[in-house]
Amino acid sequence: MPTLVSHPDEVKILSRRFGQGAAELDRYLELDGYKAAQLAIDNGPEWVINEMKASGLRGRGGAGFPTGMKWSFVPKQSEKPKYVLVNGDESEPGTCKDHVIFLHDPHAIIEGTMIAGLAIGAKMGFIYLRGEYRYLLKIVEKAVADAYAKGILGKNIFGREGIDFDIVTQTGAGAYEVGEESALMESLEGKRGVPRIKPPFPAVVGLYGGPTVINNAETIASAPHILLMGGAEYAKIGSERNGGTRLFGISGMVERPGVYELPMGYNLKKAIYDVAGGVKGGKKLKAVVPGGSSCPVLTADELDVGLDFDQMAKAGTMLGSGGIVVLDETVSMVEFALRTIKFYQHESCGWCIPCREGTDWLKKTLTRFYDGGGNAKDINNIQYLAENMMGRTFCPLGDAAAMPTLGFIKKFRHEFEEYLQGKRTEKHFITTDELVGAAH
């Protein structure tokens, strides 16, 4: 069972019920549970969307699109039913924040789904978890069943005539690509999880052809808290154009790894040194992957930056999914780059060529390089390949592989060059017999 961590700098809004038994419905109700959903029913969709807009909440899955605006894009009138789809297919390496919400506060996700449904006029929501989260699905399934038993889900919810909402829960079966919103819809429709061409966007033509709001699990779980405290109050907590708090998963070589709730805009260096206790064993920090494995790496000199979507973009990287991975001086960037690319090669759905071929050649080249068979041209070739993948794929997986690769080459080129000259770290992690030939 994942251990909960805590630090005085945390602002506990989303995590305020963690560790308090809130997976049980009665306890959730004691802790203001489902009050926000009733407020949403009382005040109507327009009020909900305005509060969400006022909150400045931006999507916590990685792209950072304003949530209130996303909800407002759904057409009011629709011949086809509308749906809410909660993306709990958390699979970006470095990211484990949704894991904690599902474990400790599943009703917040259910309540958020209802609120989104009320806002857009949907009567059905889906909560889709990644396949590996089966034990979390059991917790969510129980929470949904409890909510039905108490009249919180189903027909005439809270005893209100004509207000219906149903929720279906399920897991995927192991595919990172399914975290992309259109691939997620394909998967939920019982197909291979490959992306759809956009437009049309899901808000207009989504699940089963109906208008659909797709939100990350953390985004959805934030909605009840926003309605309870008021959008404007929530916005005050974060930084400019980045409302509220978010869950940051700090992992790797730090003294106190864990998921912490910090205000948007919180300083990255402070997050690593104060909140997570600094580098493990007093070693020197070498680099940080700031928002999940797809985000370009930051060097030790670049950490004095605020953790929000805009400041991170200005620093040449991304806030992404909030998964901060800390590397100390003992890690070889050549090896780290190879492990990162091995992941994207494995998870490419293979549908479009720049991603399928690009990730494969990147992996093959890096593997040979790592095994000692590289040459000086390889470094440029890796850069060339990654540059040519950027922006040329149906979905962001190609970019997600190319961006960190370009970051490694740009900021740690010297390490690749030194590697060629025989300078290696003491320990090699990856056993390459399983890597060669991209057999799996």
Partner: protein
């Protein structure tokens, strides 16, 4: 009521499948969950399972196989009774994920995607399992084990071998 006269699945799974086809706006949506539950029931997705699932969802077997081959957690060959999945992705790698994997290989005497001779354990190196902050981590069947060391791995595998391990299905 089951649409299949004689199901190959256990009564509990067959009942679950009867319900699954009713909860979605489109029956086919039940496909991915069905394949997972079929695997839990039978150990892997057999030809007979493909056939019955196709029948239940009014699909061609080809449609079912098309989806079956896409997802990495679905398998068409038996795994061990306890499927050990060790994460070696970035957060796990740098804090000992490969040590855990190597230890499992030695201890079980098998490699990636292999099964022990007695059929008790199988081993897989897997991509990120969403336990980065509690790394290194592994799953045995669907149960998470975090903050691992080789000693902890030994204790966990001992527990499963002795029938004391947890199984979340």
């Amino acid at each position: 009521m089951s649409t299949v006269a004689e199901s190959i699945f256990s009564p509990a799974t067959a009942e679950r499948f009867d319900k699954l086809v009713t909860i979605y706006p489109v029956k086919r949506s039940a496909l991915v969950p069905m394949l997972l539950y079929a695997q839990d029931d039978l150990g892997y997705v057999t030809d007979a399972a493909v056939s019955e699932i196709a029948q239940r969802l009014d699909l061609l077997e080809l449609d079912v196989r098309n989806v079956l081959s896409y997802y990495s957690m679905l398998r068409t060959k038996p795994a061990g009774k306890f499927n050990v999945q060790v994460c070696t992705n970035i957060s796990c790698m740098i804090v000992g994920g490969y040590d855990v994997l190597d230890h499992c290989k030695k201890r079980l005497g098998i490699g990636h995607k292999e099964v022990t001779a007695d059929g008790q354990f199988s081993l897989e190196e897997v991509e990120c399992i969403g336990a980065c902050c509690w790394a290194p981590a592994m799953q045995v069947n669907y149960d998470f084990h975090e903050n691992l060391t080789p000693e902890k791995v030994d204790a966990i595998l001992d527990d499963y071998a002795a029938g004391r391990g947890k199984d979340v299905k």
